[in-house]
Symmetry: C2
Subunit: 359 residues, 2 copies
Amino acid sequence: MKTLTVGLGCRSYPIYIGSDLIHSSMLYTTHIKGLDVAIVTNETVAPLYLAQVRQVLSDYNVIEVVLPDGEQWKTLETVNRIFDHLLAARHTRTTTLVALGGGVVGDMTGFAAACYQRGVDFIQVPTTLLSQVDSSIGGKTGVNHPLGKNMIGAFHQPACVIADIATLNTLPDNDLSAGLAEVIKYGLICDSDFYEWLQINMASILDRKPELLSKIVIRSCQRKAEIVADDEKELGRRVILNLGHTFGHAIEAWQGYGQWRHGEAVAVGMVMSADLSARLGWLDQQEVEQLVVLLESARLPVSPPVGMSADEFLSLMRVDKKVLDGTLRLVLLKRIGDATVTSEFSGKCLDQTLAKFIC
Amino acid sequence: MKTLTVGLGCRSYPIYIGSDLIHSSMLYTTHIKGLDVAIVTNETVAPLYLAQVRQVLSDYNVIEVVLPDGEQWKTLETVNRIFDHLLAARHTRTTTLVALGGGVVGDMTGFAAACYQRGVDFIQVPTTLLSQVDSSIGGKTGVNHPLGKNMIGAFHQPACVIADIATLNTLPDNDLSAGLAEVIKYGLICDSDFYEWLQINMASILDRKPELLSKIVIRSCQRKAEIVADDEKELGRRVILNLGHTFGHAIEAWQGYGQWRHGEAVAVGMVMSADLSARLGWLDQQEVEQLVVLLESARLPVSPPVGMSADEFLSLMRVDKKVLDGTLRLVLLKRIGDATVTSEFSGKCLDQTLAKFIC
């Protein structure tokens, strides 16, 4: 087992990474202060892992909350169902919520923990690649609104993250690929060595070789932990973690949440961001093409859904949280391994990028 | 104008108290960082003050959100309406919310500010006595759940509080009385001199003499600011501000929110807390009777609604946020001007108190 730390002073917490950690009761009990525990999961993950986690926590008063599966359920109404269960069971401020599942479960459980009685503890037990390498770390919690993704939420750090690599064995291929989009993102924004390594090893990663899965989770978590420790509330550098997300969120909102996986939309967004970066003279066209090859080798889409217009892109992108007083800002690549947020791009270049990708 | 400060380090903020402050644009503009402002108010307050505040903020892009009036609307669904308006108008992280109204408007607007794009600024402009002396200060924000009051929320401090005493001239008598319950509370928990002064001056206060209204708002805000600065997140002493609230919340939940005013329920709760304190030998029976006289002189109820049983009280009180791992804790009075939170009371004494007040 590898233990990383997200260094945030009194809110610092460990990320445990390894195989079969889900059964290690000590990892949980170290971080549970009271007698009450609520395991929040979804219909897909519950049959696979809920009984096991419940067994490990048998010394506590445990309730289970099983939510429907899918990004379309990441709403205030679903979070309210978590509150219903907590209040019906009379859980108090000393309860601990356990988020067992992917990013949607983690985001909603974390937001419920942030708001229940004005804040209780929670533990992240991510069971997808995307949640292990990205969403379970850093304390961003929340839900979607019909007019924008993750528009309602809170910064609320978990007490710990238990990333069990073995749970990736039950992950559908499409979900593995969606997670790889965020893994590739770390290479693009801050780790060119890792990016090159991914170009060489993608085939073995898709074969789910345990030592490779372990490496990509550890390396990604290291990069994320460093960036979050630098800038917890995204007042500065943390924003580079949103590479591809402004285009990606527009795709997700246009399609209706739950149609494309988040990682798939981010993959397309990263290609579009790279294309715009090339138009600004920062990347070579060859580097953009290499990115397309890498994403395709990870079985990810590289162009937006058919039928989405440039105007629709622009309209939905303007709802982005990075917009400041009406000015659109985008995370772009100065080079491979170096990202920046900027509003210093001409509308003409952005229009050209959109025109290139509109089918 | 008197300016008090809530001392919370980088989250410190001023409370401005005086007459006709609502028209003083500088008080707002000092605390507004961006170009967008959303004024959130309700149907009752809007016709009285919305146009005036809008006029003062005419240099900004202002939207208005007018909510229904009443505690029964203090729900997640109503907060979602605020999000709808903010997103429809494309307000970003630099927006500032202005809560114009009483405690319900302030609690919901503050919670919306805490959660919109994971946190934006807000300004409290309390227009009721209760919100001026209590709920607008200290950063407690949130909504009710059918199973418990204020169960969903966040700590989110305002950028400033603008308490315009002149707005109390339009306050109905019952709402003035409801606010006086919280004023009397400060005397009971930490200011025996103020308590004696209130006993002498209650008639003049009810006549709304400006200098007396000004004094009770300033004195109450001073006490609240001191307690909040000591203990922002209610890990210790701040809990004494909940004197009477465990009984009171049970009454509000039993009746359905919006039937009794919050301050009315708190008044009854304070009498019941004083009665229990007397059974523990901490207060004289005479002091309990003097409290009843003072609350009655402020035109407040001193016994629970007819039909509410002891079992219903106990059941609803157990949902309280002060319950720790199943143990009920109550704020009680060691003496007039000195409150403590304790679970060290016999169930028998609590039963006797409940039996005395059940009709």
